[in-house]
Symmetry: C2
C-alpha cells in the first residue's frame, strides 16, 4: 500500500524519552541476545556511524536499523549452556544498519559490545532501501510550493488546505537505467471527511527525487470528478441516524489476573515459552518458541524464528496513474514502522496487556512506539476437545475442555490498509497465524455514477458515485524457521493417493493411501497449493516417537491464492517469491526478506525465488519454511467507505510430535464467581 | 460413524414429560408454521398412524417423524400477509413419517390440522430408513446370548461384562439382491477404561437382521490383540500426574444480560432475525434468516432454510471387518438423534442460553432432549473493522469496532466422533458456519507395537501399541436455500482471468479482470473448488444497488476436500453428492437429503447427483446452494486417545447486498464496569 504517515512519526516523537515509564520490550535487566535494540543502543549506533563518516554528518540518513541477529549456532550453544546459570558470554550484540551516506546506500554492521563498525559495504546493485517517514513527508509537501500543482487544484476548484498527499513507490517496469531514489506523489481531498482515501484527486502525477528532494516531473492529464465527501467519514462522532442496533455490554474478566508472564521480551503461558521482539521492517518476530512436554518433563523446540517476511500488494488497474501500484509493504514502507498504537478495549479485549517498542528515526535516534503489541488470553467459546459417551450405563459420560489460547497482536496500518496480525499459541501445541485486513480501499476517481454507463475496462467495482474500488491482491509471505525438536529437520510431503483395487480381494474398488516423500533439494519443496491432497510436514528425521513415527509439525493452510499476473511481468519478477505457496530453504542468515534487502525498485535478482535456484540440499538440515497466503480482492459495496475485516491464516500443528494428545491431562476450568457485585455499563470515553 | 447410543435413548426417556418445565423450542403460545413438532403433535401423529393400521399396532416402528414443511410459496405469502396481524390462516401443520409397518417401509404424511393421513406410500425402491436407537440397542445385545460369540470372548480371555457392542450400517457393494434391514455388530472392551473405541475386539463379525432381530451370520476370523486400557481414559478423574499447566479463571460477563431475544423458535439479535428448529435427521435448521437494513429501514431476506443435509464418512481400511465402513451419519444414524446435552460453562461459555428439543422414540412417543442447543454472543477479541489515520494533523484518528457475533451451537456425537456445529451470525451480514471434529477415532486392533515391524498396507497410523488409527474422510454437505432479497436468484461465477497486455499500451504485461458467468442450468453450477480463482455468488438478478450492481451473497469456502475414491466405487456412487463442492438446484421440496431419503444400503439412485442429471434451469429461479466441506483425516499420535478439535467451515457474506458497509454506523462498545466486587474462583463441580 501506498502511504506516507507524515504525521505519525511526529506523533511518536512526542513520546521520545518522555514516556519511558511504559516498559519497553527490551528494557529488562538481563538482556537476551535476540532482544530488539534498546533506545540506548540506537543512540550508540547512530553515534558510531556518524563518527565513522565525520565529514558527511549532515548527509547521513538511517533507512533501517535493526538487530543483527547473532549467529544461530552460537546462540543455540549459548542457550544450551545458559540454563540454569550463564557460564559463557552471550554472542556479541550487533546492529544491522542501512544508511544513505553521501547519496550512496551503505550496509553496516555495528558491534555494540566493542562499539565499532564491523563492516561497511556500499550497495551497488539494483534497488533502494526502505523509505523513512521523514523523507516521505518532505516529498509529499513539495507540491504545495509547486505552481503547476496549485494551478491544477485551482482548475478543479479544490481548496489547497484540504489536500493531503502521499508518496508511492515507483516499482520497476523494465527500465535498464536506474531511476535513482524517486517516488510518485498522489493527492487526496478532505473537505468534509477524514476518509481521504475515498477522495482521490486523479490524473495528476508528481514525481519527486528523494535525494535532491525536488519535483522532477509534473503531469496533469485530465480532470476527473473527485468523489463526494458525503457518506465517507467513518468516525462515530460523524454518523447520523439511523444507527444500527446497539448491543448490551460484554467483556472478559480474569479476577486472578492473566495466566501469562512477560519477562522482558520473554513470554510464558500455559505450555508455551517464546520471545517476542519488534523490527521496523517486519514487525513482530516470534523466536525460540518451545513447548513443554508434560510427559518428557522438558521444553521442546518448535520454532527458532517466525515473522512476516514480505507483503506484495499489486493493483490491477493499468491507467497511467495506477499501473505501477505494486507495493511491497515490508521492504518499501516498513511493516513495523507502520505499526499503530492499539486502542485498549477495542483493538484488544479487556484482559489484554500492552507492550511498546522502539524504531529509529531518519536521524538514527530512537522513537518509542507505545502499545504496539497486545497480548491476551482468548476465550472465544470454542471447545478444545470433548466427548459424550452414551454407551456405558447408567449415566452419560461427558468430558469437555474449553479452548483457551494466547494471542499476540500487532496492527500495521500501511497507509490505507490496516493489517491485524495475530500469532496465537494453543495448548494443543499449535501456532496459529491469522491476518485480518480492514481499513480503507484504494479507490480511483471516475466519471461514472452507475454501472450501466460503463462500457470499458475500469479495473474495479463501482462502489459509490465516481468511486471505483480497484481489483488487487494481497500476498503475505511468512518466514518460518522451524526447529522441530532441534535444528536438523526435513520437509515431507505426504500425498494421499488413490489406489484402485482390481483383483477382487475386496468388495471395494478403491481407497487412498499415504505416500510420503522427503524433499531432497529446494526444487522438491516448491508447492502451489491446490486440490491435490497432501499433508505438509516438517519432521525431525533424527527423532522418533515410541511408536517409531518421526516427530513433526504440520502446516495446515488457510485460504491461499496464487498470482494471476504472468511470470514475465515486471512486478511478478520482483515478487517471484509469491509464485509458490510453500518453499523450503536451508537456513542462511542473510535470507530473511523474501523480496530482497533493497525492495524499492528491485529487479527480482535477490528474492526467495533466486535463492532457491541454487537448488540446495534441504534434507536433514536446518531448514526454513516459507509460506505465502493470499487474497484476490474484488471489492464489493460493503467495503465502502471502510472495509469490514476479512481474515485468513494458517496453523502449525504438532503431528506425531507428542506421544499422545498433549491436552489430555489439562484439567477442566474453574468456575469464576462474582459474589456481591454491583454492576454497571457506562460509556467508554 | 458407527454407533448405537443404546443408553442414550434411555437417558432421555427419564426426561419424558417429567421436565417440561424446561421450555421446549416449540412451546411458545403462537405456533409458527416452521416450528418443530411439539410433544403433543408427536403423540397425535403416533395415534393417527397407529389407528390407521389397527391390526398391526405391534409391528409399527417409527423410524423418523419430523415436520412436513409447508409449501414454500404458501408459507411466504402467509408471512407477507402475517405482519403486523395475521389475516390469513397459516399453512396446515403436517408431519412427515417414515415407519416400518409389517416389515415394509411406509412414507406417510399426517395432517395435524385435520388429524388425518394425507398420504401413505410404501417404499419399494432401494435403501432403508434411519435406524432407531431401540433397534440398534436390541441388535447389539443379541451377541450376549450367542454361544459362538461367548466362546470367541473366552478364547481371547475377555470378560463378557466388560464388552460393549454397537451396530454398523452395511453399505452397498454391488449386490443385486436386497439384503433386508441388516447390520453388523462390532464389539469393544472396557476393563479399566471408558474409552471403548480404543479397545476394539477385532476380527469377529456378527450380522443381525433387524426385522427378525436375530443373528444371521457369525464369523471369528482370527485373534488380534486388544489394545491395552492404560492411557486411554480421558476422564479428568482418572488422570495422574504430571498434569499440564493450569490456567487462571477466565470468563465472559454481560451484566445487563444477553442482547438476543428468543421467542419460541424465533431468535433476534443485532440486525438478525431467524428461526431455529430441530430435526431428528439433520439437527439444527436455520430458517427465515433476514437481516435488518438500517438504510432501507426493513428486514431483507437472506436464507430461507439452511441445514446439514448429509455427512459421509468413508474409512480407507479394506480389511474384512472394515471395508464397509462408509457411513452416512445423517441418513443412517440421525445427526439430530445423536445430539448430546451441552455441558454449561464447558461446551458453551458462561453467557450461553440453552434450549431443548424433542424427537420421536421408536414407538412414536416424544423424547425430550435437554440442552440440545446453546446460543451465545461471542466476544473473541477480534476486530470488526478499524482504521488509524496518520495523515491528518494534529492527532491520530483511530476508530475501531470490536467484533461480536451470535453463535448457535449443537454437538452431535455419532458414536465415537463429536461434531460441534456452529451457525454464527455476524453484524456485517455474514452467516458463518463452522464444524469442529473431536471425540474418538475409530482404531483397528493390530499386532504391531512399532512402525518398523510393519511391512504391509495397514491403512492407518500406528498411534499406540496395537492401535492403528484408520485413514478416513469427513464430507459434510449443507443445504443452503438462499433467498437473497427474494426467492428468484441466480448463481454467478465471477472468474478472475489473466489478461496479457501485448500492445505496449502499458508498462505492465498483465493484470486480472473479473469475468462473470451466470449459471443457466445445473451442470453450469457444479464446481470442484481448486486453484482456479473465482468468486461464487448467489445474486438476485431482479434487484440492483443504486450503483447498478446485482444484490448478492458470496460463498467463501474454508478448507475443502474432494473424494479420492474412484467414481465407480460403490460407496462413492452412494455419496456422489460429494463429487463437487458446490451444486445449485432449483428449489424442490422433496430434495432435502443429499444422500436420498433411504440412505441405509442406498444405491445412489436418489442423490443430489442424480437430481441434477436432469440439468434443470436455475437462472432467476428459486435456487438452493449445496456446499460440501471436507477433511481427509490422517491420524497422528496427538489424536490418541482423544482428538483435539479440528475445524473448518465457510462463510456466506454480503456482496453488493448493502449500499455500503452495514456496520459503519454501529457504535463503539460501552465499557463494562464492576464496582465493589469481591471475586473468587472455585471448582466447577
Amino acid at each position: 500500500m501506498a502511504h506516507s504517515l507524515k504525521i505519525f512519526c511526529c506523533f511518536f516523537f512526542f513520546f521520545l524519552f518522555s514516556t519511558l515509564s511504559i516498559i519497553p520490550l527490551s528494557h529488562q535487566l538481563e538482556q537476551h541476545p535476540l532482544d530488539s535494540l534498546t533506545p540506548n543502543e540506537f543512540i550508540r549506533v547512530q553515534a558510531i556511524v556518524n563518527q565513522s563518516h565525520p565529514t558527511t554528518i549532515n548527509d547521513i540518513t538511517f533507512q533501517y536499523i535493526g538487530l543483527n541477529e547473532p549467529d544461530k549456532q552460537a546462540l543455540i550453544s549459548w542457550l544450551q549452556n545458559h540454563r540454569p546459570t550463564p557460564i559463557t558470554a552471550p554472542p556479541p550484540r550487533q546492529a544491522f544498519v542501512i544508511a544513505r551516506i553521501n547519496h550512496q546506500t551503505h550496509e553496516l554492521v555495528v558491534d555494540l559490545s566493542y562499539d565499532n563498525i564491523v563492516s561497511d559495504h556500499i550497495h551497488h546493485g539494483f534497488g533502494y532501501p526502505l523509505f523513512t517517514f521523514q523523507e516521505q513527508n518532505r516529498a509529499s509537501q513539495l507540491v504545495f510550493n509547486h505552481a503547476p500543482f496549485l494551478a491544477a487544484l485551482n482548475k478543479r476548484g479544490l481548496k489547497v488546505e484540504e489536500v493531503i498527499c502521499e508518496t508511492f513507490a515507483l516499482g520497476w517496469f523494465g527500465e535498464t537505467k536506474q531511476n535513482g531514489r524517486v517516488v510518485k506523489v498522489m493527492c487526496y481531498y478532505l473537505d468534509g471527511t477524514v476518509n481521504l482515501y475515498m477522495r482521490p484527486i486523479e490524473a495528476i502525477t508528481v514525481t519527486v527525487d528523494l535525494e535532491a528532494m525536488k519535483i522532477t516531473h509534473f503531469r496533469d492529464r485530465l480532470v476527473v470528478p473527485v468523489p463526494k465527501a458525503a457518506g465517507t467519514d467513518y468516525r462515530e462522532s460523524e454518523q447520523k441516524a439511523p444507527f444500527g442496533p446497539e448491543l448490551k455490554g460484554i467483556t472478559v474478566v480474569q479476577p486472578d489476573g492473566p495466566s501469562f508472564i512477560i519477562d522482558g521480551s520473554r513470554v510464558r503461558w500455559a505450555n508455551w515459552d517464546f520471545h517476542l521482539t519488534f523490527d521496523a521492517r517486519v514487525g513482530p518476530i516470534v523466536s525460540l518458541a518451545s513447548i513443554y512436554d508434560t510427559e518428557k518433563q522438558e521444553f521442546r523446540r518448535v520454532m527458532y524464528r517466525g515473522f512476516v517476511s514480505e507483503l506484495f500488494v499489486p493493483y490491477m488497474d493499468l491507467t497511467e496513474e495506477w499501473y505501477y501500484r505494486t507495493f511491497f509493504d515490508a521492504g518499501e514502507y516498513g511493516y513495523g514502522l507502520c505499526a499503530v498504537p492499539l486502542e485498549p478495549l477495542r483493538d484488544c479485549p479487556a484482559n489484554a496487556v500492552y507492550m511498546g517498542a522502539f524504531v529509529a528515526a531518519q536521524n538514527g535516534m530512537p522513537i518509542e512506539m507505545p502499545n504496539v503489541f497486545c497480548i491476551f488470553e482468548r476465550n472465544a467459546g470454542d471447545v478444545m476437545w470433548r466427548h459424550t459417551e452414551t454407551m456405558i450405563p447408567p449415566d452419560l459420560i461427558t468430558e469437555v475442555r474449553p479452548d483457551m489460547s494466547l494471542v499476540v497482536r500487532m496492527v500495521s496500518t500501511v497507509g490505507n490498509y490496516d493489517y491485524i496480525n495475530d500469532w496465537e499459541f494453543k495448548q494443543i501445541g499449535s501456532i496459529k497465524v491469522t491476518v485480518g485486513l480492514t481499513g480503507l480501499l484504494e479507490v480511483r476517481g471516475s466519471k461514472y455514477t452507475h454501472k450501466d454507463q460503463i462500457d470499458e475496462e475500469v479495473y474495479g467495482t463501482l462502489l459509490a458515485e465516481n468511486t471505483l474500488g480497484a481489483y488487487h491482491d494481497h500476498f503475505i509471505t511468512y518466514h518460518l524457521d522451524l526447529d522441530v525438536d532441534g535444528e536438523s529437520n526435513s520437509f515431507v510431503k505426504s500425498k494421499l493417493e488413490t489406489v484402485k483395487v482390481t483383483d477382487q480381494t475386496s468388495p471395494r474398488k478403491s481407497y487412498w493411501k499415504v505416500v510420503s516423500e522427503t524433499a531432497k533439494t529446494e526444487s522438491d519443496a516448491k508447492i502451489k497449493l491446490g486440490p491435490d491432497s497432501a499433508e505438509l510436514l516438517v519432521v525431525n528425521p533424527n527423532k522418533r516417537t515410541n511408536m517409531g513415527n518421526f516427530v513433526g509439525y504440520r502446516l495446515i493452510p488457510g485460504s491461499v491464492a496464487s498470482p494471476l499476473m504472468t511470470n514475465d511481468d515486471y512486478p511478478q519478477i520482483r515478487a517471484a517469491f509469491t509464485e509458490y505457496n510453500v518453499w523450503v530453504t536451508p537456513y542462511n542468515k542473510s535470507e530473511k526478506w523474501a523480496g530482497g534487502v533493497y525492495t524499492d525498485q528491485s529487479r527480482g535478482d535477490d528474492t526467495l525465488a533466486t535463492w532457491t535456484s541454487r537448488n540446495r540440499r534441504i534434507e536433514n538440515k536446518d531448514i526454513v519454511l516459507w509460506y505465502t497466503l493470499g487474497f484476490h480482492h474484488v471489492p464489493y459495496q460493503e467495503d465502502f467507505p471502510l472495509m469490514p475485516t476479512i481474515s485468513t491464516g494458517f496453523e502449525l500443528r504438532p503431528a506425531n510430535f507428542f506421544e499422545y494428545n498433549p491436552v489430555l491431562k489439562v484439567k477442566g476450568p474453574n468456575n469464576v464467581r462474582w459474589p456481591n457485585c454491583s454492576v454497571s455499563s457506562s460509556g467508554l470515553n
